[in-house]
Symmetry: D2
């Protein structure tokens, strides 16, 4: 049976936090999600610091490493180019890889602004390879279950979506000015980093966003430089935003994110209210989904059900453990990369389960529009 | 000791759900919050339906009843006029009572719009009697504790306020067109009914609101008439709204309310994030306050504390039971009315613990501005 | 309609914490639970300290007071004798009152041991008046709902009951030696005070207990005297116990209580597991009941439902507020006393909704048996 | 740096649910817990079914497979013998491996009864290799943190331990008669399977258990045969037990487990109350620990803190993700096997972090004593 499992050669750009998550994902899917459509072979890893990239290659078992991403995207042996670089390096390597016929998975946000993201989306449409944006929260079993319930009509017509992604990572004013806090490298601040996640989930679960009002704000305007903490530099991106969103289907709601929320470690929460029920989700307890079905409950014995999404019948769960044995954040990448591998091998569309470059573009456009609304004080209608 | 407790004669307009709550509050404060500054004497109750109002008089022990509120506000024996009537009846009786020198407590929202509320505020300033808006959630021990923590600086500089008041009461399209759903009687829909509560708490806890963006919406546009359910009438007020709020002190956040949220029975929630900590509150568990103090916790043993606000040292709790023996929603009215009685007897300002008519006006003005923003698609700066 | 409401004259012994709760209960039921079967008239209150008892009489509006309980139980005008005295004063006044034909409600535990409780039970059987033990937790709407679900078979055959009642009140070794900590006055310690509550609920919900094993323990063996804190006295009752219980219907479980549990303010919790579902309850959130129905949930969308027991269709709730507006601990006494009044006026059995003296005796007997098991190290079979 | 990492050859017996967990653990520790003391090399896997074991070898990347465990324990190239077989196969292969000088990790319970476990313990003392019982819950970061807090005295003198392990897996009477339900293969039922886990944690966290009272019970006495579901066989082990435990340090409490608890998917819970604070843990939310510190909280702002045990300073967490990004049940095996590898390479004692064979023996002895108490109806004092 296993003799016939093909392999796909991976070329990865970046080896930081998110590169580690992807490497772990490729490895786990190879034996946990058995039999996989293909076995990912960790072929090349790429970064500018030779000491660090060579150590990463050894650690994760990559066959080799490169210092220049151009050597990766042009390498004929590479099947999948996996772009885990900072935001400002999403555009050029990804476009080059697409033009070279590679399958490309690119970290979110797709680009530092909607314009560049649109160009990437256009190129992806004509490209030979598959392309996917690494919005990994589309691969949380509880989130997929939420989507299934919505698609089956269990929640009815949707009235509200409330999404927020709150962290505390920037509340200390002495946290240095990393690339994420500089427009040049990140494009946007919390809006692009956390906001894009919850905006993508809003679109995945509820549908197209057609108008936004918003304010973005930078509360802590100066921070120590990363390489010289005795000097301060300017934070030129937001560290918090608030927005009102309107959906094509008539639903209205709010989307907000901040890294100034003490006690919120990695709190991405959404609540959806519909004519037949409600859904709640919290990333810090990602194995649970809270649901309320108006038609389920005799004699008013009704309330939110705290559902452990760990049944073998739940999305992706059959590959893991018996029910009640929770999976963790790291396991989501096995789901995500399995899906991408499956789309490549079996020629499937990455969307709607995964985020296409069109999804990546639209999320970027929405982020741009929230910024625009903040500047003009006006509601912005989206035209994609 | 008790010989000297004076009495105050109460004249109440309205005997529905909220009148019952006030009657119970007057009674409970008389013996639970011992010794009270004065014993409220239930003197007159007023309503148009004689059968119902006479029954209410017997039930609650009022000395007498009237069918015309003018006889109440002009009765010389009345010390406190308590306006529990629907919104459109807040203005005239309240103004008349103030002019007659009565102390007046008026249910929220103070008026059907900011203009009328402003007039009431102006009249109240020159009136002989005390005046208070019955924003009863200012009298939740956990909410008062939250304010104390904020005032003591335990949360530091406030970055965010997120308030929402969600119920499910209007999700059934066959729920009839009560006065709350008609502009003529209610002024606004959920925005005035639930929104005014959470807006008042935002001001009470965080400070003045200086700008809003918002959308109001009516999802269910027709409902059966109350008195003839085979016919339908138009809902001409909102059944949901979303808004972004900006505070004078720089904090930003969201305020939203809806009665279309399945599973949310009476969910008024707020979260406040500051430079030193965070606070969360949920009305459905009103005896608890969740707090996170960044400076409390060695070796990263930190997290939200679920505090039962039932210690004898907690606001108003000494009058009730030992810790852990929770109080209910009904008990809040004893606190509120005790405070009003105390302000009258001891000539204290009703604010900031209670809501003054100035507070009532500003809440109404903010509601107006959210409506305006929804119409114009523009951010509205508040000028009070 | 209300003209015909009769009155019942109350004679109460004790005016401390629990007397306050009963007084409040009598008052609230008179207008909240409208129309009541009878209006309780607070006639006499009794205690040894004249200053205190006269003040209590004024506070709660009793018509008069007495210093000797014999004058209360023999007073012909008294319809209900309400015994809120410490445990050692339950026997004699209650027996006397019963012999005088009074209706008697007696605080729990019924007596300081099973032998005396048995005598009270026997006397009650031949008495003219109704008799009830004030196990007030039988009057929590969520608990009554739990019983309804069990009686309807929604949980199926019961396998397990796990009950615990945890508080922190005795964890400070400087808390003085009150009557509750002295065998002479209390009979038992935590076993009688908290244990009897959870044992009564076990019997109410699951059925007869036929065997126990247990250990009782006194961790803090000396405490300052109440009236002279510079001296210490011996704690001669338990401050914690653990027990295994076996039910007539085959269910097995544990019952335990302690006042040495930091962070537990008033945590009485039970969990019941049956062949068709499970139930959980926590007194600190007494408006909620968590239920799991194995037959409710398509496609494994199953989990514990957090039910707010605040619907007008829920037990006793129609008398209070709209759903989601929680009731508090104090409100339970209105339910309890309403029930007793209803049984008197309409000649109903106090059980099974309320606890009869038979129930009080059996709870006392079970407490005795847990003590016996602790002494002998052997399982004790109950013979009532 | 990585050139010098040694390798250890693994020989594993069993390839079911728990074998999968171990295989995943060996793989993950090799690159996540970087640099590891040694890289585990998956050398041999063993089972009786050639088709299945050869497939497992391919899936997990074992170099080879065997059908007879004797070939594994005697193979000179094997450094670690990992016994993932059913309980009745723990004794002989483990003893043989120890005698052959292997390092041995054996799944829990160590043996089908205390007598055999004692023999294994004695042999392990004189053996050349390291030995460890795979009580994996000792490797939950939150549990280790709990132990640290206890050891630092943050909880003070311990009064109570309450442990329960509840699942619903056997509530369906049509679930077949697997080896876990047959005394011949399992030794005990829920008592050995779930009970041994919570008993081990009680000892790990609180200290030695010196006496028990208990009852074991089999509610569902017949089940369909695994290989012929039209026939039924007898369940000759318990499916639930209750027990009272007494600790050497004076603490008392309860330990219980059942697989008949609807809604409980994998609920292992413990609560510890001490003179200075309390601790709560729930396996279904294994990234959280709830703590209450009596000395932490000004002005009674006190409550249970819900601590996310996901800080880089928390046990084992630095190897994973940023805080708030939860780990799952599967990750615990990387911790456990890392520890065993570390003990081997750096000649450390497996206890007290890991469970020694002495720990395994004592847990087995306690299980035996609970069974004995159930038979005799008497409290059993433990003599190890």
């Amino acid at each position: 049976m296993t003799e016939k499992i093909p392999t796909l050669n991976i070329g990865m750009l970046g080896y930081g936090f998110i590169g580690k998550a992807h490497a772990n994902g490729y490895k786990q899917l190879s034996y946990m999600m058995w039999p996989p459509p293909a076995i990912p072979y960790l072929y090349l890893i790429c970064g500018r610091n030779e000491k660090a990239v060579s150590e990463a290659a050894k650690r994760y078992g990559f066959k080799g490493y490169r210092l220049d991403w151009k050597e990766v995207v042009s390498d004929k042996r590479i099947d999948i180019f996996d772009n885990c670089a900072p935001n400002h390096l999403h555009f050029e390597p990804t476009v080059e890889a697409l033009k070279n016929g590679k399958n490309v998975i690119c970290e979110k946000p797709l680009a530092v602004n909607g314009e560049l993201a649109y160009e990437m989306y256009k190129i992806s449409k004509d490209a030979k390879g598959k392309s996917m944006v690494a919005f990994n929260y589309r691969f949380i079993p509880a989130v997929i279950l939420a989507k299934q319930l919505i698609d089956e009509g269990r929640i009815g017509r949707i009235y509200h979506f409330r999404g927020r992604y709150l962290q505390e990572g920037m509340v200390d004013p002495n946290r240095p000015l990393t690339w994420r806090l500089r427009k040049e490298f990140a494009g946007k601040g919390v809006l692009g980093d956390l906001g894009s996640h919850i905006i993508d989930l809003a679109r995945y679960l509820v549908g197209e966003i057609v108008a936004v009002s918003g304010i973005t704000h930078t509360f802590i305007k100066e921070r120590p430089l990363s390489d010289n903490t005795s000097q301060k530099g300017t934070v030129d991106v937001d560290d918090a935003f608030e927005s009102i969103v309107e959906f094509e289907n008539g639903a209205i709601g709010t989307v907000e994110a901040s890294k100034l929320c003490h006690g919120r470690k990695n709190y991405m929460y959404f609540e959806i209210n519909g004519s037949k029920g409600s859904i709640r989700f919290n990333l810090e307890r990602l194995d649970e989904l809270e649901v309320y079905f108006a038609n389920e409950g005799t004699n008013k014995i009704m309330g939110f059900k705290d559902v452990m999404v760990t049944e073998s019948s739940d999305p992706f769960i059959k590959y893991w453990w018996p029910h009640g044995h929770i999976i963790g954040w790291g396991n989501l990448f096995a789901h995500e990369l399995y899906h991408f591998v499956d789309c490549i091998i079996n020629d499937k569309d990455v969307a709607p389960q995964g985020a296409s470059f069109e999804d990546g573009y639209k999320a970027a456009k929405i982020c741009d529009s929230i910024e625009e609304s903040s500047l003009t004080g006006k509601r912005v209608e989206l035209k994609y």
